[in-house]
Symmetry: C2
Subunit: 388 residues, 2 copies
């Protein structure tokens, strides 16, 4: 199996792009990644596109072929397929692209992620997103994603005594970082009071504990590590690409305060990359809801169970702290165009490891980790990236 490196990365601004369609966003990100890699469309040998629900959001399936066409990849008639794993579609596409290069079947591979969500009213978006849960056994009985997240948060607060004030620190950090990221959906800081006093979505989650509905796209170009320096002076090695799934429904699980899929994917990733949590310089954690980030940080070994909020209280999670967390702004402030998110997390780590992250640059970043989740922590996908 060949080692795989990222030789280019690009993304759109995340937000409400009422003037841009699904294809506009995907093509913008894809071309930025090609330009960053210093290659042309005809150099790409295969494409994997993460997308959750373009069929429902904008009536468009066959997204891989459409993107290949509009990105100018049709002359070479390359393979292009869409990968879907709900909100982890982006990282799943990267896992597929990783295999494609590792196998030796393809050398230069484009991995993208895109979602166009803001063309529909909120209730329809909520219903489409609920398709990531079990439609027949959860959604049919009234559960939405915030409701499922709220049940996890409530149970967590009961078991470990975490307060709403403590949970509020996570979106505060996310917005602090988003304010430093010119591509973020939200670029203003908020306080704990903002979080506590904003509209309640599903008790105890206020709207400020929930990531927004965003449009956006992100893309990276992969190559065999052994030839990566032909394309760039700063290739980033994919040291681990791991993926685990557990029961889709909350009601099937033994615990509401742990994610066994995150634990499993994390363990495999550390083994694959020959790293431990202490070796990780910065993380992009899936904070669709604050509680998911909290459980994610713990289950990846960055805090003891029940204590992730202490990292926040101690200031460790800021980009200039001991464990820089979501320097991009995370799903909460950078935004959450669901199919793009997992690739966008990787784009942020690439920028950081190349020392190109501007005002939010993490000092001396050599190794980064991304945690992308599909469903209510059903699918967990981990990538560990490092400077070569």
């Amino acid at each position: 199996m060949r080692d795989v490196a990222i030789i280019g990365a690009g993304e759109t601004k995340y937000g409400e792009h009422w003037d841009k369609s699904l294809r506009d966003l995907a093509v913008e990100a894809g071309l930025k990644a090609l330009e960053d890699a210093g290659i042309y469309a005809e150099d790409i040998q295969a494409m994997f596109g993460g997308n959750m629900s373009a069929g429902s959001f904008v009536g468009q399936d066959h997204v891989g072929a459409l993107m290949a066409d509009f990105a100018g990849l049709t002359e070479t008639m390359i393979p292009a397929m869409r990968i879907e794993s709900a909100c982890a579609s982006g990282a799943a596409a990267l896992h597929a692209g990783y295999m494609a290069v590792a196998s030796g079947l393809y050398d230069i591979v484009l991995v993208g992620g895109v979602e166009k969500m803001t063309d529909l009213p909120g209730d329809m978006v909520t219903d489409i997103l609920a398709g990531a849960a079990d439609r027949e056994w959860e959604v049919f009985f009234g559960a939405t994603f915030p409701a499922l997240g709220a049940m996890m948060a409530r149970r967590y607060m009961y078991e470990f005594g975490m307060t709403r004030e403590q949970m509020a620190l996570f979106p505060v950090i996310a917005h602090k970082h988003g304010a430093l990221n010119p591509d973020a959906h939200f670029q203003r800081e908020i306080t704990v009071d903002t979080v506590l006093n904003s509209a309640m979505v599903a008790d105890p989650l206020t709207i400020m504990n929930c990531s927004p509905v965003s449009d956006g796209a992100a893309a990276v170009v992969l190559a065999p590590a052994e030839i990566a320096r032909k394309y760039t002076d700063s290739p980033i090695k994919i040291s681990a690409s791991t993926f685990a799934n557990e029961y889709i429904s909350l009601h099937s699980r033994e615990s509401l305060v742990r994610s066994v899929s995150t634990i499993e994917a994390g363990k495999k990733a550390y083994r694959m990359a020959k790293k431990e949590p202490k070796d990780i310089d910065l993380v992009e954690i899936h904070d669709a809801f604050s509680i998911i980030a909290i459980i994610g940080l713990e289950d990846l070994g960055f805090a003891k169970k029940g204590e992730a909020h202490k990292l926040a209280e101690e200031g460790q999670l800021y980009y200039d702290g001991d464990l820089p967390y979501n320097p991009s702004g995370g799903l909460k402030a950078k935004g959450h165009p669901v199919g793009a998110t997992g690739v966008g997390q990787v784009v942020e780590i690439v920028k950081q490891l190349r020392n190109e992250a501007g005002k939010r640059q993490v000092e001396d970043a050599k190794v980064g980790l991304t945690h992308n989740v599909g469903g209510i922590m059903t699918s967990s996908i981990i990538h560990i990236l490092e400077v070569m």
Copy 2:
């Protein structure tokens, strides 16, 4: 890169399964494939599920995770992702599974395909399927898939003088074979008159030139070829897995009577498998519309351009002819549950190569080819399978 073999195969009956849900169908096919391979759920290391539009058909995305859960693959928390490439989603999933095993990252891999289409009225189904074309530049202006197919057929008739009677031979052959397949959606023979006199869908395509809306699922288990005999006495080698895309819209193409994606994927497949058309003992060709099968047969080198109908007239395409074509009944008679179709074609070839195809058994079958198409011949995916 490792050689890859199929060690198990299974599928549901195709048809209108009003008593079975998406998950029921997928699990039935998956378990049949596991049983056929003589393995247990816990032996599977990764899963790739082809599905076009469950989000639109039944409100369910995150299909990979759902299938892994209900097939009992959650204890081992394996990676499971959905692959979408419109009506070629099944073959695209097999291409992804092939890479997964070839790369060395996973050994035993389950590849499935499923679609549950009959829960909605026909006009909604037609609209969802139109999502495989360009929604903004084709569908918005009134094109449906049969309309796009009809334009290709009309142009082909104009250029080569093929008659509707000649085109009608293809569904006649498909139904002849379907009548021999107990799992086919339609199991009765039809005549040229049936085709000509059935309801006109989009001139010159009558409803008998169009594949039906079907529910169904299919699955295969993959393993490295070098260990395949540990599991089965009759492993089937995947000698080629190739995939090409061209412009998604008909209006972008130079020709309406050729499929450059089929030509490209075919060329690559013959090269990869070190085979020529004359080495192929039987084929499963994508006959969503009769014209697509005609163009497919020609562009894969089985007939000169404009002459595929001669193969039909000469009787060569029957299962006991010189070029057994769609012995399963094809999309037309076996049925076309879009996400399942590509995997189902492979299941048929596996049965044939193992001499387990019952009344429609092709004599002395050693090498088979499948041709699965997404969109209006936008994506073409070829697999060549052979007895090891």
